[in-house]
Amino acid sequence: MNGGCDSMSETGGGTAAQPGDFRQADRGTREAALARVFVRLADTLASDFDIVDFLHGLSADAVEVLGADAAGVMLADARGGLRLIASSDERTRLLELFELQGAEGPCLDAFSTGRPLQANAENSSIRWPVFAQRSSDSGFQMMCAVPLRVRTNVIGAMNLFRATDEPFTDDEMDIAQAMAEMAAIGLIQEKALREQSLLTEQLQAALNSRVIIEQAKGMLAEYLKVTMDDAFKLLRAYARDHNRKLSDVARDVADRKVTSTALIT
């Protein structure tokens, strides 16, 4: 990452502070906090992963590590529109919802361009007049947004707000972008994992039902003294008559919740 801000930062509100601005003590604390954040962001493989908790954690971490006053995270939905998923407090939630409703603001631009940006009160009022008024009313003067992006795949964006007019430094923008990218990688991995887990469950259900149907046929063949073919026909007829799945009926027969005589009456 190398700054990477678009024209907004160059037109005035920009990154006046230099990378060397961190005091040594701040740098140490920040690095420790960052290390914690990255460990947590890498933890999307945990079995109890929850996407909303995860993104609330991201916005809280971003506020802490980057010295912001508020943050919000939006993700693209299935139709490509953004939805607000997490925000650091109620005031920001309303502001972000307003951004979505008004269809203008830093998050939307970071999402559509795939590039980080920042703006102070003055240039935000030029670029997003309605949103800038609202954010000023909420007490924010400085804002930036970074895309949640893996290579060219942009899946959302994160907004950060400051009550002061102190710009985000190049370092801070880089860190914000790195956090957003880590989160994006985690979310994409988690999605792939969830889809595979679903397929695995379906496959195992198919394997199990195949076994259980054969076992149920065997039980009926024994109890009712019929052939395997006839046993299967009885199972299928019962499932159809009761509007149930064949494998569910077979399981009930194997567990003796449905008696063999019930199938011939």
Partner: protein
């Protein structure tokens, strides 16, 4: 991307064997590729959902179904371990101490002419869907190259199985399993009949069938066939 190259090379070799490849044919091709490339006596892709429900989706070599069949008959073995743990189980010499974890399996496999067995889990999502099993009629470890190929081949097979699940109108896995795996169907049917005869659960019935096979030294399939054809009862 060394493994990317490996994947491409294996896919090219498999697809060359069979141009009209659906998932079933692709997986059969992968098994044939493994047998030829690694001088195996058997290779099989087994789908599992626990010890009782497993089915061989495809296999190649004269020992293709030997290892799977033994494990289902005995209820123990390296494939079940690989499936449950998600970690490969490599047994370069079934006559050695390390195979003593599965004494019945090792003895039966040796008797059938299998001396080395390598079982690679097919992991997907948070669980597994089965194993990719390789065996040889002589002891000895797979070379590093062959092991790396086998792991990639297992990944390709796993992807093909999962992909098959997503294709609308494709042949279902149950159909694919049924064409390659009629022996197990008879065992499941016999299990149901024994459960009815003994008024027992199906898992206890399977245990009884397994024990009868072990005690008599006959294959489980043979006894199951006798049960299904009503020549043998378990309540007499």
């Amino acid at each position: 991307m060394r493994d990317g190259g490996r994947r491409a090379r294996i896919l090219a070799a498999v697809i060359q064997q069979d141009t009209a490849a659906g998932a079933g044919e692709l997986i059969a091709g992968i098994c044939r590729f493994a047998v030829d490339e690694m001088a195996l006596s058997g290779c099989a892709l087994v789908l599992m959902s626990g010890a009782e429900s497993a089915g061989m989706l495809a296999g190649a070599g004269r020992h293709a179904s030997t290892v799977t069949g033994l494990q289902m008959d005995l209820g123990e073995g390296p494939c079940l371990q690989a499936y449950a743990s998600g970690v490969p189980v490599l047994l370069p010499d079934l006559a050695a101490e390390t195979a003593n974890r599965w004494p019945a399996f090792a003895a039966a496999a040796l008797a059938a002419g299998v001396h080395a067995e390598f079982s690679l889990p097919l992991t997907a999502g948070r669980g597994g869907i089965g194993t990719f099993d390789l065996c040889r009629d002589r002891p000895g470890m797979l070379s590093d190259e062959h092991l790396a190929d086998a792991l990639i081949a297992a990944d390709i097979a796993r992807d093909a199985v999962l992909y098959q699940q997503c294709v609308p109108g494709g042949r279902s896995l149950a159909e694919l399993l049924d064409t390659g795996d009629t022996d197990r169907i008879v065992v499941h049917q016999a299990t149901g009949m024994i459960a009815a005869q003994l008024n027992e659960t199906t898992s206890n019935a399977l245990a009884r069938l397994r024990a009868a096979a072990f005690a008599s030294g006959r294959p489980m399939y043979d006894i199951a066939q006798d049960v299904v054809e009503r020549r043998v009862r378990f309540d007499e």
